[in-house]
């Protein structure tokens, strides 16, 4: 119940006046770039060296907007007398951003960490066909990818670091054992 | 006043007199169009012109107060009310086929008679009285108020009572019609008890 008639009206006026006194939240975008958090879904960058042309991303893409062409190459055996290895070589990796719905499934499914979110977002085109970006462009965007945010204090270790640490510990233990045996 | 009249002749009119005459002609023309046009809303708008012309005439007669009251009441309120009513009837754009009346000759006769009577009264009352434009305004608010509330207070009050009676009458009539209608619908709708709040919903 209002303490006196019109107190609600006064409260409304106070709210707007207080908002006016505060700093406005508008970002002056073209003059000032927005500060976007890492992993902002701006654009997808490709780190080619990690790609094995496994086609998982293209298959999982709900929009079928990833185009991958490749051919096989035989690699001479690593050691003399060994078997020749065949290797997939990437010919084309393109993402049609007019189809992409930024679900990020391709990035999730990539088993070799070849795809990354980049906060870059200024790639509008005047023609829809020019929104299909090829590997060189995707590679350029790779360099705009931000480092992932720091983990929370007390969080579990990232898997790859944990695995690396375990191997390192094992190795250290293996090196330490013979030393013990010697002494 | 007779002295002043002697200085004025009908054959050598002053600028104000010419303006008065021209505005009068324009007002008369607008009034004629108001009653003859077949377009309803145009008639109301021409009425604005006619009433505005009258206000200008009052101004030229130095009756400033009356002029502004004329604009305030007639142009600002009465015509707006008129337009409001016309809009409620969906007055069409263009000619209304039925914007004519069989009584037009009788109406003309009444109008001519009324105009004749008014002109005769005015001519008889003022004859060759001229307003002295150079002296203090004869129609200022103070002068109008003093004459209204000293010399003419009884007619003024009688008019007030008349208007009040008309107002009350209008309210009574509209309330009565509404009550009848509400009663009729509640009877046909076969609702034994119609609470005031339910009446709105029933209709």
């Amino acid at each position: 119940m209002a303490p006196f008639p019109g107190s609600g009206l006064a409260k409304g006026l106070a709210v707007t006046l207080r908002t006016m006194m505060r700093k406005s939240v508008t970002e002056q975008y073209p003059d000032a770039q927005p500060e976007l958090p890492p992993r902002t879904r701006g654009v997808i960058g490709l780190f080619e060296e990690n790609c094995t042309v496994c086609m998982l991303c293209a298959r999982e893409c709900p929009d079928w907007c990833i185009y991958i062409d490749s051919h096989k190459e035989t690699v001479p055996p690593a050691a003399p007398g060994g078997r020749e290895r065949s290797r997939n070589v990437l010919d084309r990796f393109a993402i049609d951003f007019s189809l992409c719905m930024y679900c990020g499934i391709c990035i999730e499914v990539c088993p070799f960490d070849a795809l990354f979110w980049s906060p870059e977002f200024e790639y509008a085109e005047t023609d829809i066909r020019e929104l299909t970006h090829e590997r060189d462009k995707l590679r350029e965007w790779m360099w705009t990818v931000l480092a992932p945010p720091a983990l929370d204090a007390g969080a579990e270790e990232p898997k790859e670091i944990a695995a690396a640490r375990k191997t390192a510990e094992k190795l250290a233990a293996a090196q330490a054992e013979p030393e013990e045996g010697e002494s | 006043m007779s002295l002043a009249a002697a200085q004025h002749g009908f054959l050598s009119p002053a600028g104000v007199e010419i303006a008065f005459l021209l505005v009068g002609l324009a007002t008369f023309g607008a009034a004629l169009v108001t009653v003859t046009t077949r377009q309803l809303v145009h008639a109301a708008l021409w009425l604005v012109v006619a009433l505005g012309g009258l206000a200008v005439e009052y101004l030229l007669l130095t009756a400033e107060f009356i002029a502004w009251v004329q604009v305030l009441i007639y142009v600002g309120s009465v015509v707006v009310l008129l337009l409001f009513g016309l809009m409620l009837t969906k007055a069409p754009i263009g000619r209304s086929p039925d914007a004519d009346s069989g009584n037009r000759w009788a109406a003309l006769a009444v109008a001519v008679a009324a105009a004749g009577a008014l002109v005769w009264v005015v001519v008889d009352a003022f004859r060759t009285t001229w307003i002295d434009l150079k002296g203090p305004a004869a129609g200022s608010t103070r002068v109008t108020g003093e004459s209204l509330f000293q010399n003419w207070v009884l007619p003024f009050e009688a008019l007030s009572v008349l208007l009040l009676a008309a107002l009350v009458g209008a309210i009574v009539l509209s309330r009565k019609a509404k009550a009848d209608e509400a009663f009729g619908t509640s009877a046909t709708a076969d609702t034994p008890v119609a609470l005031p709040g339910e009446k709105e919903g029933a209709r």
Binding site: L9, G12, L13, V15, T16, L17, T19, M20, R22, S24, V25, T26, Q28 | Q39, V41, H42, L45, V48, E64, F65, W68, V69, V71, L72, V75, G76, S77, V79, V80, L81, L83, F84, L86, M87, L88, K90, A91, I93, G94, A137, S140, T141
Partner: protein, 322 residues
């Protein structure tokens, strides 16, 4: 010759005020409204904080095609913006800003009546526009405009009448000459009634039911484009100036102030007018639009009784002190 020059100069000054002040109010509205909503508002036009935004808007309006709908009543449709705008120009003539003879466009004997009468005529423009557009939204807007005018004209008049009673004159400079500071608390109810009714007559939010854009597009102005539309907008902002100026003159003592009454009186008038214009914008940002029935209810059940009570109070005090 000197007289003619004097008149011409006064007309010119009033005309310039008429053209610039609404733009200033409009720009202030842009910025104040933006900041009250946590935004910045226009920032680019003209360079410094978008000061030239409304000039840019004007240029844009002038470039647009002037469309008259096929089914519209051509002449009434084209005449309506002028009918809506001109009255405010005339009203500005009569508002005194300073105590001296030269600080008012034209001294009128029945100033209050002139001002209120002519302001009422402005609404006729909206009605003409609403009817002549041959558009049901416009017609609805026109109807609402008329209903609103009829409802709010009465309390506005009564509130103004209260001041006229207090001052014993209906001339605007006369009222100001009779003003004392204690009129402020004495006439405060009348002032609020006058201001609110004036807002409603201008169809400013929260009383903008006649142009409620979410229901009837833009009411009577739906079919207008280009310059004619701009004229309607200009009329609205000129109306704000006029309303704030009138409230200042009638209720806030115009050029009277705590200090600097002579010489700087016009500054007081402008300051108070500007403050009221800010309040107009503030109210617009703060309150949601009143529904049509709430609108009528507010006028007939609150403002009219309040203004009548104010008149009674004025009469009693007047009799007691005389």
């Amino acid at each position: 010759m000197n007289d003619a020059l004097d008149v011409a100069l006064r007309l010119l000054v009033v005309f310039v005020v008429f053209l610039t002040f609404p733009l200033i109010v409009g720009q202030t509205e842009h910025k104040v409204m933006a900041h009250m909503q946590g935004r910045l508002g226009p920032m680019y036009a003209g360079g410094f904080h978008g000061w030239a935004q409304l000039i840019a808007d004007g240029v844009k309006f002038a470039q647009k095609e002037d469309v008259v709908p096929a089914g519209a009543d051509r002449r009434v449709f084209q005449l309506a913006p002028a009918v809506a705008l001109l009255p405010y120009l005339l009203v500005l003539l009569a508002i005194p800003i300073g105590p001296s003879e030269g600080a008012v466009g034209q001294v009128l004997d029945a100033g209050i009546f002139f001002v209120l009468a002519v302001m009422g005529v402005g609404v006729l423009g909206s009605l003409m526009a609403g009817w002549a557009s041959a558009n049901k939204f416009s017609l609805l807007g026109g109807l609402r405009t008329a209903a609103q005018l009829l409802a709010y004209e009465l309390p506005m008049l009564l509130a103004a009448a209260s001041v006229a009673m207090a001052a014993g004159t209906v001339s605007l400079p006369g009222i100001l000459h009779a003003f004392h500071w204690w009129w402020l608390p004495w006439q405060i109810v009348g002032a609020i009634v006058f201001f609110v009714a004036g807002l409603a007559e201008l169809q400013r939010p929260p009383f903008d039911m006649p142009v409620a854009d979410s229901e009837i597009i833009f009411g009577a102005y739906t079919e207008y484009t280009g310059l004619r539309f701009a004229l309607f907008l200009l009329a609205e902002y000129a109306g704000i100036i006029v309303l704030c100026g009138l409230t200042t003159v009638l209720f806030l003592g115009g050029w009277h102030g705590p200090w600097g009454a002579d010489g700087l009186g016009w500054l007081w008038t402008l300051l108070k007018t500007a403050l009221l214009a800010f309040v107009v914008i503030w109210l617009r940002v703060t309150y949601p639009r009143l529904r049509e029935d709430q609108l009528q209810k507010l006028s007939w059940t609150l403002l009219v009784p309040l203004s009548l009570a104010q008149i009674a109070l004025t009469g009693i005090v007047k009799v007691v002190i005389s």
